[in-house]
Symmetry: C2
Subunit: 349 residues, 2 copies
DNA sequence: TTGAAAGCGCTAACAA
DNA sequence: TTGTTAGCGCTTTCAA
């Protein structure tokens, strides 16, 4: 059996050097495209590398060079469309810029036990970390301590601005204002709101945008005009049933995400209300399916793929600035603008 | 500036050894929980490790031990619910079993340029590879050659059975039969089908299940009774419009996925057809939103999270069997059964 | 039970 | 332009 296994020993830089009749250093120089190699030598070495099907060990390289070309990614809730779209943006941009990704998904959104995670990333010598899990409750309480201990550059997605870290976020507040102002522009004065869970920063931003848009239009906001869901369609159903009780003359509603808006459509339809005539509806997120709801759903589109792309771009910038011993200009914030998409659920009569 | 940077040098095994007054070897033994260490020595070393906040370098370990506790994951289409749910299953099971993940998303579903990818994984010394991208067209043509060259264990998800590789798949054929037989049991005899893109193995399986269920019930299948979509809601709209032309007395339709079924609901509603009375509908996938469509959508639920979990489990089994020089029983196939979920879109009158 | 020596496969720093 | 030397931080092998 033993001689059968054909354990093709991987060729190393040493063997290539021997075959090419040069030192390992020269091979290394060719591999890393260093300028200080004679053209003929380079060509010769490249040929040998090709012929021997030599592939350098990324592990040995990381160890020796202290640069891995790997980023750590922390995500949560991949079964939901938002996080997975963001991750998709991250993978494509990372691929484009020559970085690989070590992925960790938090077991729960509000997981606070991040020390082992960071340690794991450090042990693997990642060049940077992308924190793509949402800000919820006090799940940033560790951040201050962390920054003292960890030198690895970190970029955060979709969290409240603060001066000590770099953040890329979508402007949820603006999106909510756009949605609510649109409903008001339709002539609606009784605009309700179904929020996401208010321990989420994003949910609070959206609610605030709704409030401010109303106040700005001279409409007073009362507590019977809104209720809280948990992003799921199921919670949306419960929320709209409750809201229709507490806010009987509601003629429009801004819903915190498209999933909840979906069940609002179902429930109001079953109750025989006409949409948008009796109740105009705007959701949030812009999932592709929203266009095919009954009726098609107006929504605030947020480009979460781009969010992921930009996060990688920024992180690469930070990492390479650091390499040049140029400590850059400190943490930077990028804010993306969402877009209002108007469909039948909030069409003018 | 320089003395300011506080570049906290990472402590290494060497320093721990010095501090503890033993050899690096002994530290290594403690780290790896080897039995051949005196209890007092172990305790002493553990204390020192704790006090010095020593964390071993995973990179150095991988290089030296030729075992990384990392799996490579190949996925595609993360912006769709299926692939991201599967990935979520993979992350949670990998975490549980002590493996990390290097993630690559194919730029396109049918990407055939997998050599650089595999090489990259090899360079990083992954212990195994999970191929979670769907089988489309000839995008498995490379597989035969690959198996000759690569020693790394690979497990494939959701592809056609073949003897030379391990596969974990959901039984799409069965799901389609369940759906179609259910429609027939409702007394419908004119059951149409909107398939996914037929270069997808899964789409072909579902179509075959539909055909066989009809044949089995003594109903002949003609080409005007089905049409092809591309999984998107948009394509579903086009497909149902066409099908209603070619198959005028259709009284039920089995739709290849829930997204397409959604636009079927919208289109038939706009045309004033009653569901399920005029047209009974069953989708496929079981996305959470399906319950809140108008009307709620019957569908075939496939547990893609579990799919990911099982893939990791199997891969770990294979990897550890290989470590024991026990070559195991060769490739193994696991098939998961989907479940029919009956809702209003196909309720009995 | 412990330690010394020799790598794992590569790159940085210096010398030639 | 090229080679030599000395690591990177750990584990394996063998000897004590």
């Amino acid at each position: 059996m033993l001689f059968n296994m054909a354990e093709k020993k991987k060729t190393t830089i040493y063997e290539v050097a021997k075959e090419a009749g040069v030192s390992r250093q020269t091979i290394s120089r060719v591999l890393n495209n260093r300028p200080d190699v004679a053209p003929e030598t380079r060509k010769h070495v490249q040929d040998i590398i090709q012929r021997m099907e030599y592939h350098p060990s990324a592990v040995a390289r990381s160890l020796s060079a202290k640069k891995s070309y790997i980023f750590g990614v922390v995500t949560a809730g991949l079964i939901y469309t938002g996080p997975s779209r963001t991750l998709s943006g991250i993978t494509s941009k990372a691929e484009e810029l020559g970085y690989g990704l070590l992925l960790k998904e938090l077991a729960s959104f509000s997981s606070n036990n991040i020390h082992p995670l960071i340690q794991w990333f450090q042990a693997h010598q990642v060049d940077g970390i992308i924190w793509a899990a949402p800000e919820i409750g006090d799940n940033r309480s560790w951040l201050k301590d962390l920054l003292k201990e960890v030198q690895i550059p970190i970029i955060f997605l979709t969290m409240e601005k603060r001066d000590d870290v770099s953040i890329v976020a979508i402007d949820n507040y603006l999106g909510a204002r756009l949605a609510t102002e649109h409903l008001i522009s339709l002539g609606r004065k009784k605009v309700g709101h179904i929020s996401g869970p208010l321990n989420w920063w994003e949910a609070r931003q959206r609610k605030q945008g709704w409030e401010d848009a109303l106040s700005n239009a001279g409409i007073q906001v009362f507590d019977n005009m809104w209720t809280e869901g948990n992003w799921s369609s199921k919670s949306g159903k419960i929320a709209i049933e409750q809201l229709l009780q507490t806010f009987r003359d509601m003629d429009a509603v801004f819903v915190g995400n498209d999933q909840m808006a979906l069940s609002v459509l179902q429930t109001t339809f079953e109750q025989g209300r006409l949409i948008p005539d009796d109740l105009a509806i705007v959701g949030f997120d812009g999932i592709p399916e929203a266009e095919y709801f009954c009726p098609s759903l107006s929504t605030v589109y947020q480009n979460q793929i781009e969010l992921g792309c930009i996060a990688v771009q920024e992180l690469v910038r930070i990492v390479e600035e650091k390499l040049l011993d140029n400590d850059g200009l400190g943490p930077k914030h990028v804010t993306l603008k969402p877009e209002l998409v108007i469909r039948n659920s909030s069409k003018k009569p």
